[in-house]
């Protein structure tokens, strides 16, 4: 244990994802030794991100304004919605340049172990977006792992009876993995070869 402020910093850093106690300590001492100007820039970036970045009120993606860039883009189709778990999945799919519709970010996947059920995801927001009949196809692009598959099955059972075309990304994605780790070509191909869910 270190004294006061140093230990506080180590504790805070240690709460970040992927940072263990050892790395937290290393980063803390790096910051202690760093040029105050560099540290100031980091502090500003952190403050800025919390102050300016919000979640798009339509799709749930990260955004600098009330509506994100994708939702504001008039050239993109309003007829197709691609449902993903996290904002980082939007980035991964945008990289493929394969998709010209809109997104819907759920904010996770059904995960009973972590106590995440359908009500903890942005599913009612999705249902309101579908209400006026503009959307004709929903692409389920949750992660190709057990929780992502379960979430897609849950959504498909809600959406198919509504008469929508519901599709799931084609297999070929690394099984049990994260969407973001799929390379652009594979992900692009999975988009093109998406298959319709009927049940």
């Amino acid at each position: 244990m270190y004294e006061g402020a140093v230990q506080d910093l180590i504790d805070e850093l240690g709460r970040l994802p992927g940072v263990g106690p050892k790395s937290a300590q290393r980063i803390a001492f790096h910051l202690l030794a760093a040029d105050p100007v560099d540290v100031r820039r980091l502090v500003d970036a952190l403050t800025e991100v919390k102050a300016r970045v919000q979640f798009c009120t339509v799709c749930g993606n990260v955004s600098q304004e009330e509506h994100c860039r994708v939702c504001r883009d008039p050239r993109r189709s309003n007829e197709v919605i691609c449902v993903v778990e996290e904002p980082k999945d939007v980035v991964a799919i945008e990289r493929t340049r394969e998709f010209r519709g809109k997104y819907h970010v759920l904010g996770g996947a059904i995960n009973p172990i972590d106590n995440v059920g359908p009500d903890d995801l942005r599913i009612s927001e999705l249902m309101s977006r579908l209400a006026d009949g503009t959307v004709t196809e929903v692409i389920l692009a949750t992660d190709p792992n057990v929780e992502g598959e379960a979430t897609s099955t849950y959504l498909a059972r809600l959406l198919v009876p509504m008469g929508l075309r519901v599709t799931r990304l084609a297999s070929g994605l690394p099984v049990g993995g994260d969407l973001e780790y799929a390379d652009e070509v594979t992900l692009g191909r999975a988009f093109e070869g998406r298959r319709q869910i009927s049940a």
Partner: protein
């Protein structure tokens, strides 16, 4: 195939050890506790990504060290592959093949195949179903490494569904005590989805198991006859939880169970539908107990001997013969497949033959079984034997001898 080199760093009792090996028999000999099993355990680990002695990797890392490294060279025909595994307890393990990192450790499965005989094998016959399920699943992975992804997904589904059942059960009990019974409703909406996932993945495992049992059956019958005196026939069966009864949640006999009856034609679609049906029948029980009561994780490989279950009926010696027969049959299946098999197993080609590992088993056997087992395994491409004293290595298994003493290995013959 055979192992031509094993190198360990901070694995079990070894800080660093190099063990060159050759095809044929190698006997590792030394007093108790000197590190013989540690060496062959590491070889088995490369083939199965698990130890035959412990379920967690933590015990495999030398006390005081933070990680262990197992390096192994496997030669198959003219092709030689270097596998390196780094065990980091509490963190993700890492793997390299021919010095290039692979995406995850399970990508090394299939490079080395082993069949390991150990004193613990007696529990296959006398112990709980879990050990027999593990036998089948480990063999399935060696037959077709891709099944490991299905097994790990199934495990995940079980844990998720189990968590859901537990919270639904708790909500229901809470509701009875005064709150509203509606509390559990949101949970139950997703239970249908988890039922579907369990049925979908479970059916693949179930079909795979049933086929594997069909394929093993003739090999086990023959191997049992060879190691025992041929009294009573060894017949395999499979008991599934599909017919789980509402009363005690325990499976009752199902049409799949008839020992000795092959089921090669059973379809995944049928099994999936049956699993779904069984779950809907068992739903109340499952919620009440907060446990997954239906699925291949509740099944058992049935071992019959002379028309009776081996467990509880077979003598000690007969149980040993059965355990040996299961391992010998695994070896035969991995080496030759089955003649009537349409699953492509027979297309394994040259060099598929697994490395045989016999850890301390001869000391457990009477002299007749010892001799028979030794004769059966002597023809294998590579056999690694451990024994506390040289006299425990049967004379049929003539070959290299390596003394293991205080963390040092010395080739003496």
């Amino acid at each position: 195939m055979h192992v031509s080199h094993l190198s360990l760093t901070d694995y079990r009792s070894y800080e660093q050890v190099e063990l060159p090996l050759e095809p044929g028999v190698s006997a590792l000999v030394g007093p108790n506790g000197q590190g013989k099993t540690n060496l062959v355990e590491a070889v088995g680990y490369v083939a199965t990504l698990g130890s035959h002695r412990v379920s967690s990797d933590a015990a495999l890392v030398r006390a005081g060290a933070s990680r262990a490294v197992v390096r192994l060279r496997a030669d198959r025909n003219d092709r030689s592959t270097l596998v390196e595994l780094e065990l980091n307890p509490g963190k993700a393990n890492r793997a390299q093949v021919n010095r290039s990192p692979v995406r995850r450790p399970r990508d090394v499965l299939g490079i080395l195949r082993t069949v390991l005989f150990a004193p613990e094998d007696l529990a296959l016959v006398k112990g709980d179903p879990e050990g027999r399920r593990r036998l089948l699943d480990e063999l399935a992975v060696q037959v077709s490494p891709r099944i490991v992804a299905v097994l790990s997904d199934y495990d995940r589904v079980l844990r998720q569904r189990g968590a859901l059942l537990k919270s639904a059960g708790a909500a229901r009990r809470g509701g009875r005590r005064g709150g509203s019974a509606e509390d559990s409703a949101p949970d139950l909406r997703t239970l249908d989805v988890w039922d579907a996932k369990l049925a979908q993945i479970g059916a693949q495992i179930l079909r795979n198991r049933v086929r594997l049992v069909d394929q093993l059956r003739p090999h086990v019958a023959r191997a049992y006859e060879q190691v025992s005196d041929g009294q009573g026939a060894a017949v395999l069966g499979y008991r599934s939880s599909l017919e789980a009864s509402v009363d005690d949640g325990r499976p009752a006999p199902s049409p799949l169970d008839e020992p000795g009856v092959p089921h090669l034609d059973v379809s995944i679609e049928l099994l999936e539908a049956q699993l779904l049906e069984a779950m809907s029948r068992m739903r109340r029980q499952e919620i009440e107990r907060g446990v997954n009561l239906v699925g291949p994780h509740r099944d058992d490989l049935l071992l019959h001997l002379g028309g009776m279950p081996a467990k509880g009926y077979a003598s000690h010696g007969e149980s040993w013969s059965y355990a040996l027969a299961l391992r010998l049959a695994s070896y035969e299946l991995l080496t030759h497949g089955t003649p009537e098999d349409e699953t492509g197993i027979s297309g394994w080609g040259d060099g598929a033959e697994p490395v045989l590992i016999l850890d301390d088993v001869f000391a457990e056997l009477d002299s007749r079984r010892r001799g028979r087992l030794a004769t059966l395994v002597a023809k294998a491409e590579q056999v690694l034997v451990t024994a506390a004293v040289a006299e425990d290595v049967p004379e049929q298994l003539d070959g290299a001898r390596i003394d293991v003493m205080g963390g040092q290995v010395t080739r003496v013959r």
